[in-house]
Symmetry: C2
Subunit: 458 residues, 2 copies
């Protein structure tokens, strides 16, 4: 399994209306073809001659940084999990493209005050993102067989690993639209500061950010490598504000994917907005030209909430209560108004059904009733969250929870009213605490030759 | 991919002299056979009748917690990564068994002062560990189709996932041998408190512990699930002191495994002690009956060090300097005294080779020279560490590093002298900081019918 130097092999078929429309495929760049060992060898000989005798390094050591195995041009294995997801397209990848198993999410503060420097970083990032999502090193040739006197242009820990369905998705926070970069007038009306919700216990050090990048992949080393190299490239212009690893996805974004489980042990993502819901995606996910910020057309708004889950308390809660909170069976995920069987997972809730004692079977304060579109003027979310465990909390418990990520067309009509509903009455609140929060405008996809966010800056 | 209810399928072949000797296999328990859907259905009908009408729950919801898909008896896929590693054996699994890709490590404080309670926890843990390593739920039948009025005996987030080569390895810290449990006289002489090393910046909240469990698996959700369920079972007797996730392994423990890369981008584990080194394992890894603590015979000592890596500084360091620190090429991992080619990764160092300027090619203060057995009276380690990123450090950088785990027969002769050498002169010290530390005596493997650490308590 080598980081492939070709693209176009083993690419994930683009779901309808997603980040990889058919017309984008021919645009996808042909990554440079190399004969790695020859190139490496000649490069090594070349430098070997001039650099021989460097103190502490023998002639053999003076050569360039050659990764014959990683550059051998081996095609990715054909296994889906190793394949590449196209970077270019109408929409950014990493939204409706199939949710990968692992996440590294990073939020940055912009430390430069120069708009030109910011644009430079976005351009450089775009090049690196194109390369890394194709399974290549972050930098150009310098990264792998460049001069030994310079720092490598790729940090190396993903050499030999395949693309692993890496997607990189950028978002711009409300603070980017302050006075620094002359963008105030272009702040989208939908990019509101989130209001305070009852029960919020937000840590500013885990909230906000001028810019964010979501890296998802099937191999966490690949996701971490991508974030680290983007941070490296942005050095001097951006600084990491906070970062979050997620070890297990908690939602499906395609009907082909099995529904995974969150740390309450329940299937999560059953009634998620999915790639196949084409009409709903236009209505609920993608910003449209008439939404008040034409540069965002084809983009989407991301709300991130770090939610601590009190799993120790949960684990002492009877199964009946756990199931009542979600209105779903724990084993199969079927609504509790259905028969408890696997093939009922996708049944609709029957919210009007009552027990013999005339109580609604799905309680009025059940999470899924309160979050359901019927209770929220039809509002839906594309959830794309991840389970996390960040060590322990100093009180004898794991610091575990859900890093909730939800994409939508307008948080004012979607996340905010839904979360108001939940914060007010959700029985689940006893077991969760919102400890981090951020919102980002994720621009449309990049056209070949363009760069991340170019519709905003031009 | 279902959590299999059979064992014996797809088990990893036991490497010579490891946790799974041939004679241990027949001892491995036959997990109870079930006809899940029938069982589930009848169980559901039974409870459905008596529990119908519970407030907030309909008749359909009153049934037990049925996981037909997860209990379908489907055998694990046959793929190695999904398979089960035998729990019983002469040695604990998770030491020389092939290093898995992901880690969740937990250190506990014992909060009970009752020796009997502690032994009870060890017994309960053993049962759960046997089940979980076989790909089953943590609890007995109650966990999956038990009474709805009780908390489930399994937390559920790994239902439907295969064994994923989960290994669970227990260790006892020096503090367990204080006065509380009458074990002072049985403290092994090799279980010393580690001395302070120059440069140590240890955080007590990430150090020490009375007891530790290393959970390794190919799926992090499976490793997290195991730790969480052991913590749940131990509730009231033990409390989590610290816990560490590792997203990428940094060593190989078998010649069949490719050498992975650490966050400096270098191959790590090339010259690790490996399962195939049978004679060396006896000499350097496994405690022997004559070592001063007969109950530890067949066990091993684990040193854990959380090492922060200053990757941002590293990434600005020339390739030449990076390679000089390890005496190895970054691309191929070959010693810098060899030609830079893949098939030279396993070449021996030629420490005496000098450059034209009469400098040693492998510097005197190179990490690998200082750590090499030649410099340490032949001492070796079985390294089994993991890369980590725990968010950010509040100073604009990722909190990234290596969670170093090393098994050995006697830390007084192995880790301590090697680390003294490194702490004194390793050029790598400029880029790393030791921020957590712990040492544990890992008892021998469990015989069927026994429990973790029974040789200590009987
Ligand atoms: C730790 C926090 C949370 C947990 C454990 C959780 C868990 C779940 C589960 C198990 C389901 C049912 C399966 C499904 O349809 O996906 C669900 C549904 C849903 N959740 Fe959450 N959730 C959490 C937080 C939130 C938040 C903060 C929101 C939005 C403000 C939200 C919005 C939804 C929505 C929209 C649905 C689908 C409702 C439907 O149409 O049936 N959830 N959640
Ligand atoms: C962040 C910390 C560390 C990093 C990045 C690191 C990295 C490496 C690398 C890249 C190698 C060469 C490949 C190999 O043979 O595995 C190596 C070798 C080795 N390291 Fe480390 N190491 C670290 C800490 C330590 C510590 C704390 C010890 C023990 C006290 C140690 C002991 C060894 C040993 C025994 C070898 C093999 C030496 C030989 O026989 O050639 N390392 N390390």
């Amino acid at each position: 399994m080598a980081r492939t130097t070709e693209d176009g092999t083993g690419r994930i078929p683009a779901p309808d209306g997603t980040a990889a429309p058919a017309e984008a495929t021919p645009e996808a760049p042909a990554a440079p073809q190399r004969e790695p060992s020859q190139r490496g060898l000649s490069r090594r000989r070349l430098l070997g001659a001039s650099a021989a005798g460097l103190a502490g390094l023998g002639a053999a050591a003076a050569g360039g940084y050659v990764v014959a195995d990683a550059r051998s041009g081996a095609r990715s294995s054909g296994s889906d999990a190793a394949a590449a997801v196209p970077f270019y397209g109408v929409h950014q990848a990493g939204i409706v493209t199939p949710a990968q198993d692992r996440l590294h999410f990073v939020s940055f503060d912009i430390t430069t005050t120069s708009r030109a420097d910011l644009v430079d970083v976005l351009r450089e990032w775009t090049k690196a993102a194109e390369r890394m999502t194709a399974g290549e090193a972050a930098g150009d040739t310098g990264a792998v067989d460049g001069p030994i006197e310079a720092p490598p242009e790729d940090t190396g820990e993903a050499l030999g690993l395949p693309a692993s369905q890496l997607t990189l998705t950028i978002g711009f926070g409300p603070t980017m639209f302050d006075r620094r970069f002359g963008l105030a007038a272009r702040r989208p009306p939908a990019l509101v500061d989130l209001p305070a919700f009852p029960g919020d216990a937000l840590d500013p050090a885990r909230s906000g950010g001028d810019l964010a990048i979501q890296a998802c992949a099937h191999d966490p080393q690949v996701a971490v490598h991508a974030v680290r190299n983007l941070a490296r490239i942005g050095f001097g212009a951006v600084a990491v504000r906070w970062s979050q690893l997620g070890f297990g996805r908690t939602s499906s974004t395609s009907r082909d994917q099995a529904t995974p489980r969150n740390l309450f042990g329940f299937k999560d993502g059953t009634r998620n907005l999915k790639a196949e819901d084409s009409a709903l995606l236009e209505e609920q996910l993608w910003a449209a030209p008439g939404d008040g910020a034409p540069w965002m057309a084809g983009g989407s708004y991301l709300v991130a909430r770090r939610m601590r889950m009190h799993i120790e308390t949960w684990d002492r809660t009877p199964l009946s209560e756990q199931q009542a909170i979600f209105g779903r069976f724990k084993g199969t995920g079927a609504p509790t108004t259905s028969v408890d069987a696997d093939d009922n997972e996708f049944d609709d809730f029957e919210f009007d059904t009552v027990t013999g004692a005339s109580e609604p079977v799905i309680a009025m304060d059940a999470h899924t009733r309160l979050a359901h579109p019927d209770q929220n003027a039809g509002a839906r979310l594309l959830r794309r969250g991840y389970n996390f465990v960040d060590g322990s909390d100093g009180l004898g418990r794991l610091d575990a929870g859900l890093f909730f990520l939800a994409y939508q067309r307008d948080p004012r009509k979607q996340f905010i009213p839904i979360q108001r509903n939940l914060a007010r009455s959700d029985t689940m609140n006893e077991y969760v605490k919102h400890v981090g929060s951020a919102v980002f405008a994720c621009p449309p996809g990049v056209r070949k030759g363009g760069y991340w966010g170019d519709t905003l800056f031009t």
